[in-house]
Amino acid sequence: MNDLAAELHTTERMLPQPDTVSAEFWDGLAVGELRLQRCTDCDTAQFYPRPTCSTCGGAVEWFVATGRGEVHTFTVVRANGVEPFASLVPYVFAVVQLEEGPRMLTNVIQCDPESVRIGTHVQLTPVAAGELVLPFFTPASRE
């Protein structure tokens, strides 16, 4: 994990400031879980964390998602003037469609950037960033 954190320059990235709404999400990653919100009224899962359900306005509860999904769309970033990303090009900036419905922005890591396609199956790979943990994704073969 530490080697991967160094390779991805995680501590040099602009990192999240958890708040009362999002703390559960970040706390989950710290123990390797992808925690999402689900509406207690309409049952819709949502990401990112919000005070209420953005579909119906109902109350939300937390659940642990599978961490599995597929690439909905992506780009291979080949130029970025801002560090540490300038040192990381080419890297994959992707939108992952989670099995539970919501989508997340992430980097698809531990693969040749040229091998990523729309539809590539991916699996959550939490990587430390100082005292936080960021949700990256890695290509996975689906059983």
């Binding site: 995680t10 602009m14 999240p16 909905h72 780009t75 970033v77 130029a79 801002v82 922005l105 992430t106």
Partner: protein, 402 residues
């Protein structure tokens, strides 16, 4: 409650600041220069302005409308600082039209200025900064933490270009759109820039040049991306009745509608569809015209994909057919749908929020003042601004007063 009769609104004055690179002007300086030129154009006096509309995050010290109104010496009785990104000026046009119609103000100023090129030091293809994470002109300012919804996007190295690339990639996947087709849009804008002495880039550009330029974020190349310039613009709107007594030929605001779908790119519901699809029909219906009636289109062109999505969503072609639609040169001056006749953001001028320049170029066309780039007999123009990251679209239909 007694209400005033609903009043139609017309554009009576337009003004551009200098562009593309003006090292001696601040953002407020661009706004002031454009305002002065718009006033002179209209023949109105500063004291006539009683509605004030601006939007901008290019410089933090003019972010609030009251501050800029004070600098320009305006004492408004109606003020609006709605921010939707680059489409804000189409949204403000809607608001100004409503305010005038309802009698809440008589003469409205919409104004913008930005020194993004000279002070922001952002250059095309640099990859820029995380979108809207911090003001552009504070180049070395790096907050260590990001809160709110952006906390889930910024840590992964997205920026403006890579966000639009997500839409382009998905459009290619779903509809088979090619890089060569996207390049046709950049080529047409460059052709049009050839008629504009002030445009940042005027040398001819080919499809091969575009697809041969450096990939910044697949599938977007350097020349799929807009320029970063300085610039400013001002638009003065008043009642049609009053505009008919002024120096310029009135351009009537026939309709102005807008629609937002998301703000952060990860939340875009459909990466191949913008809010233009949600408001275009309403704009045509309110104006009482059809797509075939439109003589010239001024459309937000932050990237080539931005144009392609709007052409489809506005209904000039079917969803997925944008690539074929743009491949016969119809967007060029003299083509079937002359688009961005000043050269657009892709070749001429883009100081960060391009929406006001779309309105100004449409007015030039409808007045018959566009010189070599003039669309003969232009009577109807459509304007479509895209703000944020394909997030909030604002469209308007403008018509030459008869």
């Amino acid at each position: 409650m007694i209400r005033a009769a609903w009043r139609n609104a017309s554009i009576a004055g337009i003004g551009l600041s200098d562009y593309p690179v003006v090292p001696n002007l601040t953002s407020e300086g661009h706004a002031a220069l454009a305002f002065g030129r718009a006033l002179a154009d209209s023949g109105l006096h500063k004291a006539d302005i009683d509605g004030f509309f601006c939007a901008g995050n290019a410089a933090p010290h003019i972010e609030d409308a009251e501050n800029l109104a004070e600098q320009l010496g305006i004492r408004p009785r109606f003020i609006d600082n709605t921010y939707t990104g680059g489409s804000a000026f189409e949204v403000l046009l809607q608001h100004a039209t409503i305010a005038i119609a309802a009698g809440e103000c008589d003469t409205a100023l919409i104004v913008y200025g930005s020194d993004a090129r000279s002070r922001g030091k952002r250059t095309l293809g640099s990859g820029g900064v995380p979108p809207m994470a911090y003001p552009w002109d504070l180049k070395d300012y790096r907050p260590s933490r990001v809160g709110g919804p952006m906390a889930f996007e910024v840590p992964f190295g997205g920026n403006i270009i890579s966000s639009y690339a997500l839409a382009a990639q998905r459009h290619m996947f779903e509809f088979g759109t090619t890089s060569e087709q996207l390049a046709e849009i950049a080529v047409a804008m460059r052709y049009n820039a050839g008629f504009n002495p002030s445009a940042m880039y005027r040398d001819p550009l080919t499809v091969a040049d575009v697809v041969g330029s450096a990939l910044i974020a697949d599938p977007l190349h350097r020349w799929d991306c807009c320029v970063v310039s300085d610039g400013g613009g001002a638009v003065i709107i008043t009642t049609t009745e009053r505009a008919r007594d002024l120096a310029t030929h009135p351009v009537n605001v026939l309709s102005a509608k807008n629609a937002g779908t998301h703000w952060n790119i990860g939340q875009m519901p459909d990466f191949t569809r913008t809010g233009a699809a949600d408001c275009a029909d309403a704009a045509f219906e309110a104006a009482g015209v059809t797509r075939d009636d439109i003589d010239t289109l001024q459309v937000y062109d932050s990237f080539t994909i931005t144009v392609l999505l709007q052409l489809e969503d506005l209904g000039f072609c079917a969803k997925g057919e944008g690539g074929a639609f743009v491949s016969d040169g119809k967007l060029k001056v003299g083509g079937a749908l002359p688009t961005n006749t000043d050269g657009g953001g892709l070749s001429s001028c883009h100081p960060g929020m391009r929406g006001i320049f779309l309105i100004i170029e449409a007015v030039r066309q409808l007045r018959g003042d566009a010189g070599e780039a003039q669309t003969p007999g232009a009577e109807l123009a459509m304007v479509s601004g895209s703000g944020g990251l394909l997030s909030h679209l604002g469209v308007a239909i403008l018509g030459r007063d008869r």
